[in-house]
């Protein structure tokens, strides 16, 4: 009898906290399993083995996972809080530049000009000394700190200004786009001191390890996986806490939340900062793996592409963003290799099809499927039946 009531209260507890995104730990398992297998196959197997995974593939996978992290950052604020940011590429790129500056300083006197004090492009521009904002960037911890602090502060300043004056909807989206556009123009300037058009490249090593070595590549992939998993778990904890519920409440009925006493702008600002920090971490991991960071990363197209990854995967589900990013990027790699011209057609069509026919993305299909299975088993009436009604409320901006 006792156990029965305990079971029932557990069932009740479970029902109360069942939310989209819960129970997606399978994703963590798969991610860890795949990357660990790939790493082992790369390091332990001989190059002529049929199961050998090339270092190129390792790097490609690392890149995809960075994109997945960026997509998750966008999903946290778009899917859960209804803020469509078309400028998250800016935080990603700023994080990337932070890491790029560290890597640039690690080159030391191995550059083309052999100048131990100045990066090559500064020597080329006839600069005499290091600009003040480059000081300390040769220390890894300081560079990482800066790569988090700068995007974080930018997100805080922008968010504070925008959310306090209650800018919402398409206005906000276009402003985020203008933000990244302005940054792109600025970073294209040589005078900014970030390498102008060419950006930062020709990196040699990170923390003393050769960036070209297989071991370093594998380690970077594993670090990316680990941080992605960490970010996923912490984001999941956030969206499942009461904080997460307040955020969804702000998305659906901001005025109601405000009249219940929640300072919605505070919630939005902190969530925006959190999301920007995750994007910055993704950028930091991205740069050592691809070996370059340039102002192109700020381009509005990049940021808006991230949104379509999230839309394809299904917004408002963290795993959907990750899956979407991996799938779309894999498709992009294949497409651009086979039919380079067709990729933009495909991407454009993806935007249209997903928004018009699949507002809940692949996750929506998956969940409907899963619910159907469950209902067949138990004959229970699921609350997800009504999920179709949500979409209108979700985006009312």
């Amino acid at each position: 009898m006792n156990t029965l009531s305990a079971l029932r209260s557990f069932g009740q507890w479970f029902a109360e906290f069942r939310q989209p995104g819960r129970g997606s730990s399978w994703l963590v398992g798969i991610l860890l399993l795949v990357t660990l297998t790939m790493s082992a196959a790369n390091l332990l197997l001989p190059a002529d083995s049929p199961l050998y995974v090339s270092t190129y593939t390792i790097t490609l996978m690392g890149k995809y996972l960075c994109f997945a992290m960026l997509a998750m950052a966008v999903d946290i604020i778009w899917g859960y809080c209804g803020i469509l940011s078309l400028g998250h590429g800016a935080f990603f790129a700023l994080g990337g530049y932070g890491m790029g500056m560290y890597l640039m300083r690690q080159i030391g006197d191995r550059g083309v000009y052999g100048n131990a004090d100045l990066p090559d492009f500064m020597v080329f521009l006839n600069w005499q000394e290091l600009p003040w904002f480059w000081f300390g960037m040769d220390q890894f911890w300081f560079a990482v700190l800066m790569a988090l602090l700068v995007p974080g502060l930018l997100a805080f300043g922008f968010g504070w200004l925008a959310f306090r004056s209650r800018v919402t909807g398409v206005y906000l989206s276009i402003m985020t786009q203008a933000l990244t556009y302005a940054l792109m123009l600025a970073f294209f300037r040589n005078e900014m001191g970030f390498g102008g058009n060419n950006g930062l490249t020709d990196f040699k090593d990170i923390l003393g390890f050769d960036l070209q070595a297989d071991g370093t590549r594998v380690a970077l992939l594993l670090a990316t996986t680990l941080l992605l998993v960490l970010a996923f778990l912490s984001s999941r904890a956030i969206v499942q806490s009461r904080l997460g519920r307040v955020i969804v409440a702000v998305r659906d009925a901001e005025a109601r939340a405000r009249f219940l006493g929640y300072r919605t702008e505070h919630y939005k600002v902190w969530l925006f900062v959190y999301s920007a920090l995750i994007a910055a971490v993704a950028g930091m991991l991205y740069v050592p793996q691809v070996g370059i960071i340039n102002p192109g990363e700020f381009s509005p197209l990049n940021s808006i592409e991230v949104v379509v990854w999230v839309a394809v995967g299904g917004r408002g589900t963290l795993y959907g963003a990750i899956v979407g990013a991996l799938l779309v990027n894999y498709a992009k790699t294949r497409f651009t290799a086979l039919m380079p011209d067709a990729w933009l057609f495909a991407l454009g069509a993806l935007f249209v099809i997903v928004t018009v026919y699949l507002p809940r993305g692949l996750a929506g299909i998956f969940e409907r499927f899963a619910v159907g299975m469950r209902r067949e088993k138990h004959g229970e009436k699921s609350w997800r039946e009504n999920s179709g009604q949500l979409s209108a409320g979700e985006v009312s901006a």
Partner: protein, 281 residues
């Protein structure tokens, strides 16, 4: 010279002993109702683009009272609620909550935390959350970001939610998504959310719109039972409903108070008759 005098005057103003600097006043205070009046609205003026929504409006509401506001469309009922809850800034006038809280100095969230709850004309609930979570979010507790992140539901809070659920009669749909509720149920849920917040003053905008007669009756019962412990201000068009709950009725007309009294007094008031039935009556 003039400016120096001005500066000195300002300095003196800052150093006055009988006032407290605004930033030293604690933000969250208990409302002081020692004079038995919970809401003072004096000389309120609000205009939109030349249209005067509120025109020198004066209104006092006693603590624990159930007050009905009636008036034609455009009489300023909703604007009045907007001013009280901080949504609309008024052009001039003063609005005090009890003896000690100046409502005009606070924004919506602060006013809500001070204990003024509001139900919208159109039922507004969090459709993506279950009924249970809707009530959880409305509980009276810390509303800060950090508090929300670390919050765990305590036993007494859970009990409070159960209590409210039974009051609004939604126990059976506690795990249903609020978006799936019927219109009337949403109205009830929103009232329940106000109850969970335990406000001192409840502003209820058209609570029975879209309800069946039976539901309206239950709503009337609920609102009357709330009075006493809470102060309730109801805006309603349904005169039957108003008659069934009202002790004091205030008639608004063109942004100011036209008449005040019991339902019978108001109905026999010459001004009211004139406004509602035309000059000839």
């Amino acid at each position: 010279m003039n400016s120096i005098h001005q500066l000195a005057g300002q300095a003196r103003e800052v150093m006055r002993r009988d006032t407290t600097w605004p930033f030293l006043i604690p933000r969250r205070r208990m409302v002081d109702v020692s004079k038995d009046i919970i809401l003072y609205l004096e000389d309120l003026n609000v205009s939109f683009d030349g249209f005067r929504a509120l025109n020198n409006l004066n209104l006092y509401v006693n603590d624990g009272e159930l007050r009905c506001l009636i008036g034609a469309n455009g009489a300023g009922k909703t604007t009045l609620m907007d001013v009280i809850t901080g949504k609309t800034r008024c052009d001039s006038g003063s609005a005090w909550f009890g003896q000690n809280i100046d409502l005009l100095a606070h924004d919506e969230a602060e006013i809500a935390q001070l204990g003024i709850g509001r139900k919208f004309q159109k039922p507004t609930v969090f459709e993506a959350h279950t009924v249970f979570h809707n009530l959880e979010l409305s509980l009276r507790c810390g509303k800060g970001v950090w508090r929300a992140l670390t919050a765990r539901l305590s036993g007494s809070e859970r009990d409070r939610i159960d209590e409210v659920l039974s009051i609004i009669g939604l126990e059976s749909s506690r795990h249903q998504l609020a978006g799936a509720l019927s219109h009337g149920q949403k109205q009830w849920l929103e009232i329940g959310m106000l109850l969970a917040a335990e406000p001192r003053l409840l502003l209820v905008d058209e609570p029975v719109a879209g309800m069946t007669a039976e539901e309206a009756e239950r709503t009337a019962e609920l609102l009357t039972s709330l009075a006493g412990k809470h102060t309730v201000i109801v805006v309603e068009h349904d005169m039957e409903f108003v008659r069934s709950i009202a002790r004091t009725v205030t008639v608004l007309h063109q942004g100011s108070v036209l008449a005040e009294g019991t339902m019978d007094q108001v109905q026999n008031n010459r001004d009211v008759v004139e406004v509602y039935l035309g000059e000839g009556a």
